[in-house]
Symmetry: C2
Subunit: 488 residues, 2 copies
């Protein structure tokens, strides 16, 4: 009986009901081999006294253990641990393990990613001064309007069916709305059947890579290119071929040379604002790339992650709008238009691709958050998203200009950059300082900025970073560049 | 000039600005080889007259085309399509294609899933009478409370950092909250570091399979088992081994036999309410399974998708709470507690597994919707979720009892079933009618119900279905079974 008092430690202040604490403790003792199969348990009155709890508590605990199959009550004999439990060798437990230990490691081996890992996500203190990779200013987002729509659509009977399971392609309502919006604004002659709603651009790239690539397949990306897309392709076992990137985007001659040598399966490109360098690909290269894709029958992922944010003209129409052959998988996102933490993006592609990719998505997360999708559709329909885009594009243009003036005026020859036509970042090369040291010094002075490592490929150290200007107002930019100047 | 009038079709009622319609039409003509590299374009005044639009519209269109690199203006010579475009052979287009066609098919081949597809998601008319697979009643969900929290947390400065990109493991706030909740209610001695927030149980299974399995690996599932989990494992190229399922769940002797013959990598099991048959695994088998996993060093996925809904006792504590070796990956979801359309679930596992699986998740969709995760954490903290569970468990118990009475009273010997201890469905065998015919007849009479096909494996036609009772009130159950009785 003394043993029972020792291992059943009642915590009357805990949220777990006391009878359940008794249940849990007894199950643990059985599991550990301390209470053997067939052992007799004390009577409820006896145990209640030892533990200083009400007898009803022990009765409830025994009832529960019986219902779960751990103990049995034999008439006129008493209460016993059930007979058929496997023999368990009692474990010697350290005192520290008495409170139900949880294993620190898996017993089975985990094969770590064969091809490198994503850098750990770092969430800086939001009050810190941060030059990010080129993200929107979350303070400007029409969050309240989105939540109002969310509330409104969740009450409407017409949308009730979207509370239950839905389609992996996304809710028809948003697909219909978005295809109309893309027809009108991006010249894509598509219908809802060409649209799949995803969890941001990332999922679009992942699904496409998973669907199209198998080990040994040949993929083309730029040198340099968006690192996450490269990792996603590598993880399928595909082989990555890099072609140079100049001020007009990826080198199409180099693509053609590769096509003559190897059977290319997929090319990943960001023609609008190349990542990381932000350059825009002119019509000549776009058309040549499309012709190559048609000739050599490879797929193009056109990642257009920040389409709306172009400052010198209207945004350039996607390459997809020029594709007559069905070569291009067009990927977009709302993470830059709304907040990054709301994960909604899309794939535009021929119907056979959408069908296949939707089937794959069933395996991954089945579907999106339908009510959120409907609410976003309403924001498109009532013009909120268009108005928001117009507003922030004007603001971001001003921020880009101010930021680039600061770079020129305060940092001068110590950095090189080209005014970006669009996007939310300036690709900045540090000419005479090691960017890792700049970043480390800046952190000490309260400015969080990239050390440039994630833009480097195995072949090249660019000593450059995307300096995001969009999330900082002019005053914050002044402070940030002042600190940076002190670190060069 | 006449040609220009023909292919630039202005729609003054369209949402696209007229100058952009002109831009789009001219780009399409260039792309199609109708307007060749170096061609001279009409003057703005001339084209404006032909198209019957204001001259400023054409000037704006030409400015845009210049900014985008399609045309160039040569002083005193006029406006020309740029010189360096690749030679494009003009395409003969059918009249129907004039309005900018979009390809119907990809030009590259798509390798369809080698191992079978998910059945197409069917979204029935919500006003129809539906016996589903065992889903909650979405009418009961505390949606309003969730939205109120969402609004509240989106306004709080403390949560502002969650608007930006976050951790692939989920927001720390929900991980912390959920680990506390699972410690108290399920006896899992875990900390926040053992929890990853996913998009429902489906993503938990997918991530685990992707992380652990490679082609040729050996997996054990029940005969029958949850079909989606099997498909997910198959898609990695793993080999599926089936062991029998009886009234106590999967046959552990058969598991042991397999372990002696093959090197098992993963076992998928639903010990609480086996899918599809709803049976609960008793302690003896749980302990033996854990010992086998430790001996043969395989991983167990414990899918506990409807933990809260148990009617004869408290829910049975997860097998994970008995695992001292680090064999079990525990997967849960809120889809059944809240609405299926809000995709939040979780994985509980040793820390090394959580780290590896979070890295994989970075590739897939990067992270969850942070504000939604925070709002759900608040629902846990203020007791809303616990209260909701208590309420619906009582209601669902009543619905289960009524439904099973109806099955007995109205269908009698024509069906066989066992009263389920928990879950939201009754596994029902149709003794003398072909379930596909019953389902087809029922549909004609306004009742949508499963035809049982998705529960069948290659080996077995069960002629059985999970009949979901939870989403129907008593009156709806009466009507549904009445219709079904008329179809047998």
């Amino acid at each position: 009986m003394f043993a029972f008092k020792n291992f059943i430690q009642i915590d009357k202040g805990a949220d777990t009901a006391i009878y359940l604490q008794v249940v849990n403790a007894l199950i643990q003792q059985i599991r550990r081999g301390q209470l053997r199969s067939g052992s007799k348990l004390p009577g409820s009155r006896e145990l209640a006294e030892v533990l200083a709890v009400h007898r009803k508590t022990i009765v409830a605990a025994y009832d529960e253990l019986m219902a779960q199959g751990w103990i049995e009550m034999l008439p006129r004999k008493g209460t016993f641990v059930v007979q058929d439990l496997p023999e368990i060798k009692p474990k010697k437990l350290k005192q520290s393990e008495l409170g139900m230990p949880y294993p620190a490691q898996t017993i089975f081996a985990i094969q770590e990613n064969r091809v490198g890992s994503f850098p750990a996500a770092v969430i800086p203190d939001p009050k810190a001064l941060i030059i990010n990779d080129g993200f929107p200013d979350t303070r400007l987002v029409p969050n309240e309007l989105l939540l109002r729509e969310l509330r409104s659509v969740s009450r409407q009977a017409a949308f009730r069916k979207y509370h239950m399971y839905g389609n992996p392609e996304g809710t028809d309502y948003l697909r219909e709305t978005l295809s109309g919006f893309l027809r009108e604004t991006r010249g894509l002659p598509i219908s809802a059947a060409n649209v799949m709603i995803t969890r941001g651009a990332q999922m679009g790239i992942y699904l496409t890579a998973q669907l199209l690539l198998k080990p040994g397949d040949q993929v083309i990306v730029g040198e340099s290119s968006y690192f996450a897309a490269t990792l996603i392709c590598q993880q399928t076992g595909a082989h990555i071929n890099r072609v140079p990137v100049d001020e007009f985007g990826i080198d199409v001659d180099a693509v053609e040379q590769l096509c003559k040598k190897k059977r290319i399966r997929l090319l990943y490109v960001i023609p609008h604002h190349h990542h990381p360098t932000t350059v825009t690909m002119p019509p000549e290269r776009r058309i040549r790339l499309l012709e190559l894709a048609a000739t050599y029958k490879f797929a193009i992922i056109e990642d257009d992650y920040d389409y709306d944010f172009h400052y010198t003209s209207n945004p350039i129409q996607p390459m997809t709008s020029l594709d007559h052959h069905g070569s291009v998988i067009y990927i977009g996102t709302l993470s830059k238009t709304l907040v990054p933490a709301i994960r909604v993006g899309f794939i535009v592609a021929p119907e056979n691709f959408i069908r296949a990719v939707a089937n794959l998505r069933m395996a991954i997360d089945r579907q999106g958050d339908s009510m959120m999708e409907i609410a976003i559709a309403e924001l498109y329909r009532n013009g909120t998203i268009s108005r928001h885009i117009r507003k922030v594009v004007n603001l971001y243009r001003e921020r880009r200009d101010h930021f680039c003036s600061l770079l020129t005026d305060r940092l001068g020859d110590r950095v090189s950059f080209k005014l970006p036509d669009g996007g939310m970042a300036v690709w900045t090369k540090f000419n005479d300082s090691d960017l890792r040291q700049v970043s480390a010094k800046a952190a000490q002075k309260g400015l969080i900025m990239s050390d440039g490592q994630r833009y480097n490929t195995g072949a090249t150290n660019y000593n450059s970073a995307r300096l995001g200007f969009a999330s900082l107002n002019l005053n914050e930019q002044d402070r940030a560049i002042e600190i940076m100047a002190g670190c060069l």
